[in-house]
């Protein structure tokens, strides 16, 4: 009885602490960005001619568009590949190959982002630059991000596919559906919510990814006109300038952090809603 209460207490305080830290981070972001939110015209974040903090120009929009475009690009590439990998593991591969392939994907998920960035900078960027200089570009960022979120999508999709009840598969077999008919008509609809939740989490990771993107994206603040234009994402901007920023500049960087956090929170909320939907 007493152990029960002590355990409950420990768990509660643990949970409270995590929630508190999250809240503290949010408060801290708000506090640090307050001088910029109140002292600078907020419209300036949308309408200033450029991002040149030392000349008091704080347009965040090019970086927002770059962040969204890089994430959308990566999602577009990684979703079909990730779902295909998961389907391959669950339905098509012979079992020894399936387990090997799954290990490989898990390994890919464990590679630190800075390693991806380094590979991108020394291999991918020179390759693209031979074709379309300068090489460091939106395309490079999209490709590196794709590699990083692909395993995440594949693993969550695999889990969702594996969780499809056996009765459904047996019924489909009893109806004489082909393998592809079973997958398209029965398995994917049944696993849809789980797969979507995984995609949204992967999107959140792509939005916030910093080091790898910083190394390959070229970091020029502009609205990209093509895939080969260099761009700077919000997260990369913070990493690039935070250590060197003072006063308003520093404060605006916290505003961009706040913006990024709101984006990710909206995505997580969406994932949460979907999860709920699945259990109903």
């Amino acid at each position: 009885m007493l152990t029960d209460r002590v355990l409950t207490g420990i768990l509660r305080s643990g949970a409270l602490l995590s929630a508190l830290i999250m809240l503290l981070i949010l408060c801290f972001l708000l506090l640090e960005s307050w001088p910029a939110l109140t002292g600078l015209p907020v419209a300036g974040f949308l309408t200033d001619p450029s991002w040149h903090p030392l000349e008091s120009a704080y347009n965040l929009m090019p970086m927002l568009s770059a962040t969204l475009l890089a994430s959308i690009g990566a999602i577009t590439l990684a979703v079909p590949l990730g779902i295909a990998s998961a389907l391959f593991i669950v339905f098509f591969a012979p079992s020894h190959l399936a387990s090997l392939y799954k290990r490989l994907i898990e390994l890919l998920a464990g590679i630190p982002s800075v390693v991806f960035g380094f590979w991108g900078l020394t291999v991918l960027v020179p390759l693209i630059s031979e074709w379309q200089p300068p090489g460091a570009s939106l395309l490079a960022a999209v490709l590196v991000l794709t590699l990083m979120i692909l395993p995440m999508i594949a693993i969550t999709a695999y889990t969702a596919l594996a969780a499809v009840p056996d009765e459904l598969l047996q019924n489909a077999a009893a109806l004489g559906l082909s393998r592809w008919g079973t997958i398209a008509g029965v398995v994917l609809p049944a696993a849809r919510a789980g797969i979507t939740a995984g995609i949204i989490l992967a999107a959140a990771r792509a939005l916030g990814e910093t080091m790898a993107v910083l190394m390959v994206a070229g970091n020029v603040v502009q609205h990209p006109e093509s895939l080969f234009d260099p761009v700077r994402t919000l997260a990369a901007n913070i990493a690039l300038e935070m250590a060197y920023a003072m006063g308003d500049h520093r404060s605006v960087l916290f505003v961009s952090g706040l913006l990024l956090m709101l984006l990710v929170m909206a995505l997580s909320a969406m994932a949460g809603l979907l999860e709920k939907h699945r259990h109903v």
Binding site: V6, G9, I10, R12, S13, L16, L17, L20, S50, H52, P53, L54, E55, A57, L121, T122, V125, P126, S129, P133, P134, G135, A136, L214, M215, G218, N219, V220, V221, P230, R232, A239, L240, E241, A243, Y244, A245, M246, H249
Partner: protein, 284 residues
């Protein structure tokens, strides 16, 4: 302690208690770390920090009860931290600006900034007008300065870095006038970018660039206004794109701070300065 928190959680003041306990934990840790032997904190330029690390190690070996803490974050942070008294000494890789006259600077070494290109690029030197043309986008092809028929990839530094400041100051330009294709953070990233792109031009610390060239990186340092970019020419004072590496204090240095600055300016550390490809200066 733990029990108190757990049981207090069951009443309404539990949250408050937990917050206080948490904050107490956060404040207590640095206080404990501060106690004990004599401690010196230096923050600032990432160009100066590796050198100061070496000097600090030698200083600690000489005075065993001294602990020196070196943190990077750029010259601006060095200035900021010294003003706020968070750091005893700031590391600043440029001369002080007029609005920083409240601080004192002690030069320990000189560093030059060199324009770098890929080793396959036949261009060997540029003048100030050509450099300005390239970085503002007026000259977009290497052919315009005697190179191959290829578009120039301009590599610039992120705002706030002292290398960028010195470079803009040399060209008499604002950063918004520069039309870069790639923006980089530190020297290493700049060197990696230029070695990976045979049409790129960037600028980094001469020391760092010479070091990479000796290690076989496909890199060339460009002569500027007819003067070769080398440590030798920085020492002679004839290379125009150079800067002092300073230790900065708020007010006349006292005690341990003074000892350390004198040590860093003394001939005892010239070998360390040269090992980092910087140029030692005489204190007087």
């Amino acid at each position: 302690m733990v029990k108190i928190i757990i049981f207090s959680l069951t009443n309404r003041f539990g949250v408050v208690a937990a917050v206080i306990a948490f904050c107490g934990l956060v404040w207590a840790v640095p206080a404990v770390a501060n106690a004990g032997s004599q401690r010196l904190v230096l923050t600032g330029s990432s160009t100066v920090a590796p050198l100061i690390n070496e000097i600090a190690r030698r200083f600690e070996a000489k005075f065993p009860d001294v602990r020196i803490d070196v943190q990077t974050g750029g010259s601006s942070r060095g200035i900021n931290d010294v003003r706020k008294r968070i750091a005893d000494i700031g590391m600043v890789s440029r001369a002080l600006k007029p609005d920083e006259s409240d601080l004192l600077a002690f030069t320990i070494a000189l560093d030059g900034i060199s324009l770098i290109v890929h080793a396959d690029n036949p261009v060997t030197g540029l003048n100030r007008r050509q450099v300005a043309g390239i970085f503002t986008g007026d000259l977009s092809h290497w052919r315009a300065v005697g190179g191959p028929d290829a578009r120039i990839t301009v590599v610039n530094k992120a705002e706030g870095r002292s290398t960028l400041e010195l470079f803009l100051d040399y060209l008499q330009l604002k950063n918004s006038a520069i039309k870069p294709h790639v923006i980089i953070g530190d020297n290493a990233q700049g060197i990696k970018t230029v070695t990976g792109n045979r049409n790129a031009i960037g600028y980094v610390s001469i020391g760092a660039a010479e070091y990479e060239v000796q290690r076989g990186a496909p890199l060339r340092l460009l002569a500027l206004d007819g003067v070769e970019a080398s440590v030798e020419n920085v020492r002679e004072g004839i290379f125009s794109l150079s800067r002092p590496l300073n230790l900065v204090t708020a007010g006349e240095p006292q005690g341990l701070t003074r000892e350390f600055i004198l040590f860093a300016q003394s001939p005892q550390v010239h070998d360390l300065i040269e090992a980092q490809y910087f140029v030692p200066v005489d204190a007087n």
